[in-house]
């Protein structure tokens, strides 16, 4: 009986909140009505990403560093109760002249390969672990690619906090088929488990480049692949919202139907776990000097239920004015429940939840540090 109760408790949803000052967890009840904040863990560490392994019910990885110490990965095999540091964290080849500043993105490997993980770093690097995150090895097909520097620019270029490799997507039908996103760089595809890569950016606008239709050099902020329809990809880009249906090669702009006063700029894009036509974005002000806050100080989530043909504003429960939220690319997610819960978190330390697919929102945590990511576990 005690074991059954323990198992039931462990199945309840937890949100993993990675912040600039450590890791917190939010635990809820079966109805997702009340939330309890637990933590911090790794207080003082910059935790860029923390995710649970969807292939088991116990493993969690966290990518961390401090302001002065080098980057590392922490691993838990008991849902975050105890942690062990990676024996060999992601690091570029000695002699390459490149140095990992921080691991920015973590993705569990294919379901057929338990213990496999991928990590994306800043500056842009791709790493793989085959032992549950204990040791990490360079994916040389990308890191040593002769075109890598042309694709990505220099290690000091790119976004204010360093150029990043993110959005590591593994096709659930084929472990060797992968996508990555890079700012700066664009979207790239591999069909041989990372041995070779090619740009996949046709249709994306890069209006910040001399050639807006360049083959690479684009700035995807977040790319998602639908688990139930893996040929469907969505992207929140520096220049708008896009969709790609494979085997097509052309991204299609979905941002034109967003209200002009809001625009189509943002960091995250979140997909419904079962319906490939439903997605959420969190628009931000990308005008002039890019304030990167909610347009007009009026935060709102926008949802499409028809693959991006039209959008509905979802702001019930959110502040109506003078709320200047910034939501980073990993700081918005959905759970697998019915109806789907949607969550976002702000750089001002608030976590907001909707348990009705975005129709209404409630603040479930506040006063946390600057939040980088929120993931359901």
């Amino acid at each position: 009986m005690a074991q059954a109760k323990k198992a039931a408790r462990e199945r309840r949803l937890t949100l993993l909140i990675a912040t600039r000052k450590g890791l917190w967890q939010l635990h809820t009840d079966a109805a997702r009505r009340t939330w309890r904040v637990a933590g911090p863990q790794f207080l003082g560490h910059i935790v860029h990403h923390c995710i649970a392994d969807p292939r088991d019910s116990k493993t969690i990885l966290a990518a961390a560093r401090t302001g002065h110490l080098g980057p590392t990965i922490f691993r838990s095999q008991d849902r975050g109760r105890t942690w062990h540091e990676a024996k060999l964290p992601p690091a570029f080849r000695e002699g390459s002249g490149r140095v990992v500043d921080h691991t920015f993105w973590l993705t569990a490997g294919h379901a057929s390969q338990p213990g496999s993980w991928y990590a994306g770093t800043s500056p842009q690097g791709l790493f793989r672990s085959e032992d549950g995150g204990a040791t990490w090895h360079s994916v040389d097909g990308f890191n040593e690619h002769p075109q890598r520097k042309a694709w990505c620019g220099g290690d000091k270029d790119g976004t204010p906090d360093g150029p990043k490799l993110h959005s590591i997507l593994v096709d659930p039908r084929n472990a060797a088929h992968m996508y990555i996103g890079m700012s700066s760089g664009g979207v790239f595809e591999s069909t041989d488990a990372g041995a070779h890569w090619r740009p996949l950016n046709r249709g994306l606008r890069a209006d910040f480049l001399p050639d807006p239709d360049a083959e690479y050099g684009h700035d995807p902020h977040c790319v998602r692949l639908h688990p139930a329809l893996p040929d469907r990809l969505y992207q929140q880009n520096h220049t708008g919202i896009y969709r790609l249906d494979r085997p097509g090669e052309q991204w299609h702009d979905l941002g034109a139907t967003m209200p002009k006063s809001v625009g189509s700029i943002g960091f995250p894009v979140v997909l419904h776990p079962r319906d490939p036509d439903t997605l959420w974005v969190f628009p931000m002000d990308g005008s002039s000097v890019w304030p990167r806050v909610s347009p007009g100080g009026k935060p709102a989530v926008y949802r499409s239920v028809n693959g991006g043909k039209s959008w509905q504003r979802q702001a019930t429960g959110l502040p109506k004015t003078q709320a200047w939220f910034t939501v980073k690319r990993q700081a918005m997610t959905a759970d697998a429940a019915t109806p789907t819960g949607v969550y976002f978190a702000t750089t001002s330390g608030e976590v907001w939840a909707s348990r009705d697919e975005g129709r209404s929102w409630k603040c479930i945590a506040a006063h946390l540090p600057h939040i980088y990511s929120v993931e359901a576990a």
Binding site: T72, F92, V99
Partner: protein, 84 residues
Amino acid sequence: MLIPTPLRSYTADAAVVAADGATLAGILADLDRRYPGLRFRVIDEQGDIRRHIKFFINGAQAANLEPALHDADEVMIVCALSGG
């Protein structure tokens, strides 16, 4: 060796530990054998001292990992704690 607070999670909170080696590089290798993972937090994959880390040998700052060491030399690791 004098260990700063950010690294004491590796040394079971010990502020002073012993390490053997003929050079600063040598004692860091020994330190990593005793406390796995510590070296990579202060030395990057190209063998360079990380940006906010400094080493002092008997009070004098080391520019790199090459200086020779002798019995009873005191090595201090300093983390530049700054920013918010």
